[in-house]
Symmetry: D2
Subunit: 305 residues, 4 copies
């Protein structure tokens, strides 16, 4: 598979008032991403609440997204199939492959933590070898998985035993490790940056793609930032990165990941709430949030519905 270049959004799971997934919204969602020059969708990830869905719901989600990607071919689909049981991961991986995803992604098991890079690589290999024709990404997000194995160490263990390993979604701030991975085996593996709030610090290292939740609602901001960086207009790039930070700071202020769905609501998408145990915003708080968003004064940087 040719490497990704550009923005890969991690879509939210659209839900109704009872917390049931509304698969019907996915087609509109897909077009919205394409319209805003998003090149990929990383589904069933943290933003997509994969861990909060049942296995059946995850599979339905995969089918809804791949129905779009197979028909329209604008936005590629990467499906996260990671979990704590490699046998269940295999079930999910095979279903994803059969459904026509462009790639799958794996996560470090997050209950029993791998003792080291070798155990992590062996765990991933078990799943990857069940879908030998499908590119496999590793999704590194220690703050949630609890697995702090260096990716440079992981690549050394994984490269020889996972022939379909394609790269890493890197959601952590160890730039020493990240650059070492970029340079591993002459750049063989695709390193996708996963922290929107400091993407500029990854671009300067040679990174060409990112996976993020804020690409859902602010794709223009990041596409402009990449363009400015490519044109060596660093003043503009820094200004846009600071605007991304101001936007992301509201996530912290309003309680974390669930604020993402509030941003989507701001744009006109009713995606409901995050499932428990995630904490959601009250309607009252949403009004304050809206005022804060308006005060950012960055309407032209948000994605267009």
């Amino acid at each position: 598979m040719k490497k990704f270049e550009g923005l890969i959004a991690a879509p939210f799971a659209p839900m109704d008032e009872n917390g049931e997934v509304i698969y019907d919204q996915i087609s509109v969602y897909y077009d919205f991403l394409a319209k805003n020059k998003v090149v990929g969708a990383f589904i069933n990830g943290s933003t997509g609440e994969g861990v909060s869905l049942t296995q059946k719901e995850k599979m339905n989600t995969v089918e809804a997204w791949t129905a779009c990607s197979k028909a329209k071919k604008t936005v590629k689909v990467i499906s996260l199939v990671g979990g704590t049981s490699y046998k269940e991961c295999i079930e999910n991986a095979q279903h994803s492959a059969e459904s026509g995803v462009d790639a799958i992604a794996l996560l470090a098991p997050y209950y029993f933590k791998p003792a080291g890079a070798r155990q992590l690589a062996e765990f991933c290999a078990k799943v990857a070898e069940a879908v030998p024709q499908t590119p496999v990404y590793f999704y590194h997000i220690p703050v949630l998985s609890g697995c702090y194995v260096n990716m440079y160490d992981f690549l050394q263990e994984a490269a020889p035993i996972i022939p379909n390993l394609a790269g890493i979604k890197y959601t952590h701030e160890d730039f020493m490790d990240f650059l070492s991975c970029i340079n591993f085996r002459s750049g063989k593996y695709e390193m996708m940056w996963g922290r929107d709030e400091n993407m500029l610090s990854a671009l300067v290292l040679g990174c060409r793609s990112g996976v993020g939740s804020t690409f859902n609602y602010a794709a223009p901001l990041y596409n402009q930032m990449i363009a400015a960086f490519d044109n060596n207009d660093l003043l503009t790039a820094r200004k846009l990165q600071q605007q991304s930070i101001d936007m992301i700071r509201l996530l912290g202020k309003y309680g974390g990941i669930a604020t993402g769905k509030a941003y989507m609501r701001y744009l006109g998408f009713e995606f409901g709430k995050f499932r428990l145990p995630v904490k959601n915003m009250s309607d009252e708080k949403f009004e304050k949030f809206k005022a804060d968003v308006r005060a950012l004064n960055m309407e032209e940087l948000f994605s267009e519905k």
Copy 2:
């Protein structure tokens, strides 16, 4: 349900050389626990590798254990149905209830961590209300779940909204929190201790039951310790607790939770290995381990096959 009194073992998942669960061994296993005066089996927990099994395997495990408990009625069965998706927990809880477990247990979701006691209680309530006739235990094990909410705070939130809450399996070392829970609502909730290596420090606070992995292979040790404590023979109780510690120290020396299956092998049970990402002992190491176990000189304190 009348409260438990005594030892509740957390059984291992018996596996063959390929890592497939051997359900056939469970009947023999059940009798072995009963013979050694274990009063309950806490299945699909950490020791039982619940998170490493598929949903189907977990259900099969429940059915194998409840087949025994319904027929023989010596050892009660508590089934862990916790996970990260409350919808999947409900599926598992309903299956467990229909299979005839004596109780279910829930775990804090371990990917998205609950923001506080309220979110944790609400998550548990969602599952508990789906099996209103079944006693529900909360399994507190922050070192694995990553959820450090105080159980005293949890009880305050959970008591009003989970009528079938029966108690807590407490696998953490906050004795201040633990005693506060024992005394909560005049001792309404059953507090089961989950750290075998310092059970004596829980007994002195009024605790009457424990859930542990080492009760699988050293039930006599703990039953003798409880008896010594009840007889106010503290010198003997302390000596036995130290022997339990010496035994448990070998878990650390030989790599952690997988050493439990090595202890079972020492007793004559071939339960295979732990699934990845858990690290297992090599055969060579097992020989050294056996020598270390023999040097403990505590054969009469091990469970009898």
Copy 3:
């Protein structure tokens, strides 16, 4: 030195409104502790704000306390001389020894953390050998020092190289480690418990002394708890431990360690505030605190002025 038996208080540093130490109050403080059957004073520790004092202030504090202990001989004095520079620790240790303390105590260096038990033991040995006639205690408080070396491992390294090592003040909740230390070399080292809120769980293991901040203001509670335990009246002992917990819970509610000085103020001692960066209670909050303390309804368990 004969081992301690009973309560060792960790005195506060009495300060005036400008945060200057009032050494004059120490004589009255000493008598107050003696009156309430406290057998030792652990000075310049966490409660005593040793780290917030200058070297000169620490030395003045030592001189004020040893002036009392040499004259009155009721309460023994242990002086914490730990720090991050072993050379400065030696200066402090020698001054303490010359001033006539009964023992000194050392802390794990808390900026550069020891790589392991050996480095920790070697660091302590450097200081201990400078005061060969003085008993040395190690003060284990990982939550503040950041050093999580097991004390059982430490004793194995320290025993051969620190002949004047007398024991450990154990302010951590690893009862497995604690009991192993009690039994190390047939009980050669004195293990003093440092978590007042679960002292009962230490007593059952054979511990006979504790070092704590709440012994300053609630010595009767703990002396009664020890007596009840010794008389095998566990119901009373548990009730008292729960009362200690209720009292200590107010520390958390009102912001931590500085609340200790508020308890002293409640008893009639004006000891001022904790120095920055510790957060103190406002006068307004103190009124609420007083109401909460009264609601505990345990006046007869507080120390008598």
Copy 4:
């Protein structure tokens, strides 16, 4: 004070075989830094073992460095006076100011951790107001201090109460926080990067200076990297950053901070060992280390003696 531009080295404390500081070496050391185009010396910091020195030794160190800077005026001197007692910090700050340092630096107190940004700012203000004519930098290094307060929050509290605050030495990987500080009050505060291994990711955000230990022995590498970045030659800049990483990876391989003195020994400076509790390299290991350094094949990037 005009802002720094370029490399500020954090010098090692030269010691003899008995661990005594050799102040005589400092003059040669000073010239060596100047020769290699280092613009500042950040003394008594982590690399300089400030916490392992006595107060007198720290003062002697200050005097030796300022004797050079006052005479030669090539390399400016910043003296770390941080500690856990603000009164002792004031003593050190006043001595530094009188000795003629160009600036002082403060550290978060590392035993009692500040409850929040306000307590941290108030602690620093106490010291800063004692040397009102001296620029003050805050040294942010949470991995050692244990204080994880965001610097953006700190600046909001500190700006109004510390008029002589000049900037922050930022030794942490939160680039979102870092860029927010760069942009705070239109760039009023100087943000000096403290992680040599990812300096390129800071340069792209507009950072113009760094404080680091590897600038002691590899200043040419970083000066070339800055030049390449300024010339928009990113391929060269990335290559040099990777070489810096390869060099720094040996620190991890050989046990951490003490490896820095081994690099100096490699260059011909006999600076002895780090004081306990830091672990040092054996002579045997040093031979292996030398071979590894030679294999890096980057002699021309090391500082010239």
